[in-house]
């Protein structure tokens, strides 16, 4: 599928996605945006897995990616449910406003 594209390019894109996701997760304040950023990081990781799978002629990379997608879906449903509950409770999803555990 991705034959012809050198592994290094795949890894570059994958790393780029991961870093963009990380930056979003660390810097944004909207919980949903953070959530999306985390999805982005996971997809970066997925891409790296696919790239290695193709380079090594192994199916295992693709299998792991399926697991990741499945878990990400489950996580999305749980996470969004939390956000809805949170919003009902505090009327905000700005993570800076949500610091009940703070000293």
């Amino acid at each position: 599928m991705i034959s012809g594209i050198p592994l290094s390019d795949v890894l570059l894109v994958s790393g780029g996605l991961f870093v963009i996701g990380l930056a979003g997760a660390l810097l944004r304040r909207n919980a949903i945006t953070i959530f999306l950023s985390i999805e982005l990081m996971m997809n970066g990781a997925n891409l790296a897995l696919l790239g290695y799978g193709a380079a090594l002629h192994s199916l295992e990379g693709q299998i792991v990616v399926f697991f990741v997608i499945a878990i990400a879906a489950a996580e999305a449903s749980v996470g969004l449910a939390i956000f809805v509950a949170l919003f009902r409770h505090t009327e905000t999803i700005d993570v800076n406003e949500i610091h009940l555990l703070k000293w």
Binding site: L22, A25, L26, L27, R29, I34, V95, N96, I98, H99, L100, L101, K102, W103
Partner: protein, 648 residues
């Protein structure tokens, strides 16, 4: 009719429980009936055993109620003993105790609420139970139960008027000082068990007597420990300080506990353990010297007291000193004889003083009395008889017992102690006649209101006075010395009380008795009578005839000395300085330094350290999700770097 011995102490115990639990609700008449009735029944029960004993074979009886403690080789039974010594003690403890209970009805009736009245009789019954347990016990541990019980009742009754601060303090003082003595007694018991593997009287005494050479060295220590207990309980120097303060209790209590019965427990234990003491001559010497010092010391203090009960209290201390002096020289019979006669006349004196205080509306200062002779005739005459008995005027009870003691001391060649005894006899007569003169002779010195109030006490109070006065007259005839009996044609070697008590002395190999010649004995009698009469006449003349001018002049000439005597030689202050304050200081230091500073400090330091760590570490917890994510990320980076570092 053979009443079991345990019933004798059990009856007052039942009285205590009934008065204590139900007395408040059922009122004074009920309490009087139960409180006095239980002791009356105990007296009947005791005499139903005593009379057959005295007129029978006089063989010691031991009645075991049951086992009490059994642990390994240590075993103690609840067992009671009836022998000559316990019979003698029981006879007057129950009898005098009963009449003092009767007296208490009249004395306490007006003053107290129903609850106070019930409390009073409950304590008094508990005391009778403890005292009878003490004298009837067959082993040291059961005796110790009674020993501690009488101490407790003493504390409770001294502090009976607990709303008065000095009464509560006096109770505490008595308890603490007694505890010091009891500690010695406990040590003595440990020593006895260590030596003999038993606390049973028969076992201990027969084992000790069988092999004196083996036990004698240890017995000195054990006997001295037991004597420390006796010193505490019987108010001897240096632990006598509690007894004068004990007068803060109601007067019948002073008569019963602090004159007639409890304070003689020390003499009883020394006599009971006569085998141990006779095997330890050094201990006996200590007993004799302590007794003599106490006798004269307390008599001197009594000279300058103005509180009628304080004089009697110091007199009691002094007379107890006589008893120990007798025991210390080996004249145990004389000691017990004096215990008995003293119980009669001192109880009579205290009850008489109670009658006076009752009539004076609570006044105890003799300087505000005077001239009560005509107002309280019965009290006066009984008081006078008891005073003469205490002073040792023949043929009253005190004369015979005191003379027997002094003859015994002389016989054992303790001439210095004998001299002290004679001087004390003179002092005793003097201060007692000072008391009588100040109280009953001359003019009334109190207020008009008090004078108007003066009245003879009710029959419930005067009857005990009459009976005890009668006993003060005739009580001495059981112990008439041989020389006097010979005049009346009695040929027996020993008098009644010597014959009666002789079985309690296990024969030991002792030095030969120095029997006194008849002439010497007559001389001794003459000297003691002269001393007593001199003191008596001086007291009478100085205080009744001359209104105390001479003593006032003496006091003015030697103001420092007089003040010292009046302040009881400042012994309380010295003890306060030497023991109470250092202990207070120590306690305060243990509290402020060891407890608060060191122990609490260590705990608080630990807590503070934890809190400080938490204070610092909590800054890591921002509560901000992104900070956690960043930390997480940095952690992963760090881990990766480590992995890379290890790989390459």
């Amino acid at each position: 009719m053979n009443v079991p011995l345990w019933l004798v102490p059990a009856l007052p115990l039942a009285g205590f429980l009934i008065c204590g639990v139900l007395g408040k609700k059922l009122g004074k008449s009920f309490v009087s009936a139960v409180g006095v009735g239980s002791v009356g029944l105990a007296t009947v029960a005791a005499y139903s055993r005593l009379l057959p004993f005295v007129f029978g074979s006089r063989a010691p009886v031991v009645e075991t109620v049951g086992g009490w403690i059994a642990a390994g080789s240590f075993s103690v039974d609840i067992a009671f003993r009836l022998d000559a010594l316990s019979a003698l003690m029981t006879s007057f403890v129950t009898f005098v105790g009963f009449w003092i209970h009767v007296y208490s009805i009249g004395y306490m009736r007006h003053d107290e609420s129903d609850a106070g009245y019930a409390r009073y009789f409950a304590y008094l019954n508990l005391f009778m139970f403890s005292m009878l347990t003490l004298v009837l016990a067959q082993n040291f541990l059961l005796l110790f139960v009674g020993w501690e019980g009488v101490g407790l009742c003493s504390y409770l009754l001294i502090g009976y008027y607990y709303e008065r601060e000095y009464a509560a303090a006096a109770g505490k003082k008595a308890f603490v000082v007694n505890r010091i003595g009891d500690f010695g007694f406990l040590l003595g018991m440990f020593g006895l068990f260590g030596l003999f593997q038993s606390l049973d009287f028969d076992r201990v005494f027969s084992t000790a007597a069988a092999d004196p050479a083996r036990y004698a060295p240890f017995l000195t220590v054990v006997a001295l420990c037991l004597f420390v207990g006796a010193v505490g309980k019987s108010a001897q120097v240096p632990l006598y300080v509690w007894l004068p303060d004990a007068m803060a209790g109601p007067t019948p209590v002073s008569a019963l506990i602090h004159a007639a019965t409890m304070v003689t427990a020390g003499v009883y234990i020394v006599t009971r353990c006569n085998v141990l003491f006779r095997l330890a001559p050094d201990a006996m010497a200590v007993v004799a010297v302590i007794g003599a010092i106490t006798a004269i010391f307390a008599a001197v203090i009594a000279l300058a007291q103005n509180d009628i009960k304080k004089v009697l209290a110091y007199s009691t201390v002094s007379q107890l000193g006589y008893m120990f002096l007798a025991c210390g020289v080996g004249a145990y019979v004389a000691g017990m004889f004096h215990v008995m006669t003293h119980a009669f006349f001192k109880a009579c004196l205290f009850l008489g003083s109670g009658s006076v205080i009752h009539a004076m509306g609570g006044e105890q200062d003799m300087r505000k009395m005077g001239g009560l002779k005509s107002k309280l005739p019965l009290t006066y005459w009984t008081f006078l008889i008891a005073t003469l008995a205490l002073a040792g005027i023949p043929p009253l009870a005190g004369f015979f017992s005191k003379d027997t003691i002094l003859a015994g001391v002389f016989e054992h060649q303790r001439y210095v102690l004998w001299g002290i005894g004679i001087v004390t006899a003179g002092l005793t007569a003097f201060y007692m006649f000072r008391l009588v003169s100040l109280t009953f002779e001359g003019k009334f010195r109190g207020t008009h209101e008090q004078e108007h109030h003066l009245h003879e006490s009710p029959p419930s109070m005067t009857t005990p006075l009459l009976i005890l006065a009668a006993l003060s007259v005739i009580g001495g005839f059981v112990g008439v010395p041989k020389v006097i009996r010979e005049v009346f044609g009695s040929a027996r070697e020993q008098n009644a009380i010597e014959r009666f008590l002789s079985p309690i002395f296990v024969p030991l190999e002792e030095s030969v008795e120095h029997a006194l010649g008849a002439g010497t004995e007559w001389l001794l009698i003459a000297i003691s009578v002269v001393a007593a009469v001199t003191g008596l006449l001086l007291g009478w003349n100085w205080y009744a005839k001359q209104d105390g001018r001479i003593p006032a002049r003496i006091a003015a000439t030697f103001p420092t000395l007089y003040e010292l005597v009046e302040d009881k030689f400042d012994v309380d202050e010295a003890y306060d300085f030497l023991f109470v304050r250092p202990f207070n200081w120590l306690a305060r230091m243990l509290w402020k330094v060891v407890d608060v500073l060191i122990i609490d400090g260590l705990l608080n330091a630990g807590a503070f350290l934890v809190e400080l760590t938490g204070d610092l570490l909590r800054f890591l917890q921002t509560g901000n999700v992104r900070n956690y994510a960043l930390t997480f990320f940095l952690g992963v980076v760090g881990l990766l770097l480590i992995v890379i570092g290890f790989t390459y």
